[in-house]
């Protein structure tokens, strides 16, 4: 009987894993099948021409650069804000601290809020302040969006921080602030994972940037100019009635996927470098 149970559960596990592969494969297939024929050098090196986003000519360089700007800036900002938070709730606050509990709870709530809500929230503030859609607005929203991801995934690693390691550092006469050098190294793999997750979320987000970064045919030259992003570019092209333009949406999606792929391969490589140094 137990033998059969084992078999059934194992089959179920294999089935579930296979299902995930099917998802990934079918998504990739759709994007590649429709996008690859439309993908050409112009797509990634030229700005759109022949009208706004419905154009058949030119490329999506504006969206590629816009997305990279937003992702790059918000990842840096996100790290700068979340590392001190993680350090504070794990090193400064005692283990059973109410504040740490409340902080973790709020990050969980923030984690679950859909990005359109972040976008709408930021949009309201922008209207109140009389700001237009801009690169800066997009960066701020995406930063807000990924901070909970950063904090929660780094926190999971930081909570495993061995007490002995802190004790050992204190014994050398280090202040709590000086243990930061040790803590950051210890949780480095967690930081890399968190960064990868955040980048994935940041680059793929359309709803948050729709109202805040807006869209533009050109590459922004300052924080106050609107910026295009790849997900929105996909969205607008896909909304076009023309099949040619729709194909270009798949091509843009393909570009987006390739960027994510490159970033995660690089990220994994970096993680391995780090873990070689650790274990």
């Amino acid at each position: 009987m137990r033998f059969i149970e084992e078999k059934i559960v194992k089959l179920f596990m294999i089935g579930a894993t296979a299902l995930v592969f099917v998802f990934v494969a079918s998504i990739l297939y759709t994007i590649i099948a429709r996008g690859l024929p439309a993908l050409n050098w112009d797509m990634i090196t030229k700005l759109p021409s022949g009208g706004f986003y419905i154009g058949k000519e030119g490329g999506v360089l504006n969206a590629i650069v816009g997305s990279l700007y937003i992702v790059g800036a918000s990842t840096v900002l996100g790290l700068l804000i979340s590392i001190p938070v993680v350090f504070y709730i794990n090193v400064y606050l005692p283990k059973d601290s109410k504040l740490a509990y409340i902080a973790r709870l709020s990050f969980d709530i923030l984690f679950g809020i859909p990005s359109i809500v972040y976008g709408a929230f930021a949009f309201t503030i922008m209207i109140y302040l009389g700001l237009r859609t801009s690169l800066g607005g997009g960066i701020i929203v995406i930063t807000l969006l990924i901070i909970p991801i950063f904090i929660r995934s780094m926190d999971e690693v930081a909570r495993q921080l061995p007490r002995e390691l802190l004790d050992a550092t204190y014994s050398l006469g280090a202040t709590r602030l000086e243990t930061m050098g040790v803590v950051v190294r210890q949780i480095a793999p967690g930081i890399v994972t968190a960064t990868l997750l955040s980048i994935g979320r940041a680059i793929g987000d359309a709803a948050g940037v729709m109202f805040t970064a807006g869209f533009s045919d050109s590459i922004p030259t300052s924080f106050s100019q609107p910026a295009a992003t790849l997900p929105l570019s996909v969205f607008f092209q896909l909304s076009s009635p023309s099949a040619d333009v729709q194909d270009r949406a798949y091509a843009s999606a393909l570009i987006l996927t390739i960027i994510v792929l490159i970033l995660s391969v690089v990220g994994r490589f970096v993680t391995q470098k780090f873990s070689k140094n650790k274990i």
């Binding site: 390691l165 050992a168 550092t169 006469g173 280090a174 650790k278």
Partner: protein
């Protein structure tokens, strides 16, 4: 090597006076009275072993010596721990410079997540030594002092946790010594080690007691018998008997000590 002779003169820590006395120390965690009215003196330039059955408060006592209990929840500490006449538990006591005087060696070695070199240099750096040449000298000196130099000199920049457990423990000792402490606190520092590494650490202690006051908590009576100069016997949070090893082991004054030494309980 010529370098080593230069090294010795420039970075050898000057021997310090070490005074540690514990006055009427009480530790409660929640409602539990963990340490009861502890009153002891730790003699300088010798090895003091704290012995006693599990759960008698040995490790807790050791931790009060450099205020590592502070982060424990619901702990109340009353009384005094005087380090060079400075009370560790004074309200505004500046803890870090007192901790610097205490080299800690924990039960399991706990190397910092960095290279062998940086493990030793880290402490020096936070205390203001930035000169690369000077750091090199300190690292070499301390690694020699714990007999690790020959084993690691070609891979100083390898992560410290690539070393064996025994080597890691010696590295941790060297790391502690590099910040020029006056005391070495060892919390069952050999219990996780193999017999050879463990012997190595014991020999190092015997060597180091010329310059430091060493306080070690140990589970193994044999170890205390081998290397202790002074012995503190604890039972259920109280110091039952404290004195020179010779006297405590050969002529215990208290019945309880005698029973423990005879192995009636452990």
């Amino acid at each position: 090597m010529e370098a080593s002779s230069i090294t010795k003169d420039t970075v050898k820590p000057t021997a310090k006076e070490a005074h540690l006395s514990v006055r009427n120390l009480n530790v409660h965690i929640l409602k539990n009275h963990i340490l009861k009215n502890i009153d002891i003196e730790i003699p300088d330039k010798s090895i003091t072993c704290i012995i006693g059955p599990s759960g008698c408060g040995k490790s807790t006592l050791l931790k009060t010596f450099n205020r590592l209990l502070d982060k424990t929840e619901n702990v109340t500490i009353t009384g005094k721990v005087l380090v060079d006449n400075e009370n560790l538990y004074e309200k505004d006591a500046e803890v870090t410079h007192i901790r610097k005087k205490m080299g800690l060696l924990s039960q399991r070695p706990c190397p910092l997540p960095m290279s062998i070199y940086d493990n030793i240099a880290f402490g020096c750096k936070i205390h203001g030594t930035r000169n690369k040449k000077k750091l090199d000298e300190i690292v070499e000196y301390q690694l020699r002092a714990v007999g690790l130099w020959k084993e690691v000199k070609d891979r100083l920049h390898v992560p410290a946790n690539k070393l064996s457990i025994g080597q890691q423990q010696r590295l941790c000792l060297a790391r502690g010594l590099a910040v020029e402490p006056a005391f070495i606190l060892a919390d069952e520092a050999t219990s996780a080690l193999d017999p050879i590494s463990s012997k190595h650490i014991e020999e190092l202690f015997v060597e180091l007691k010329k310059d430091y006051a060493i306080v070690m908590v140990t589970h193994t009576l044999r170890q205390a018998l081998r290397i202790a100069d002074y012995v503190v016997f604890m039972y259920l949070g109280e110091v039952i008997e404290a004195g020179p090893a010779e006297q405590v082991f050969k002529n215990p004054r208290r019945e309880l000590t005698k029973k423990y030494l005879e192995g009636a309980f452990s």
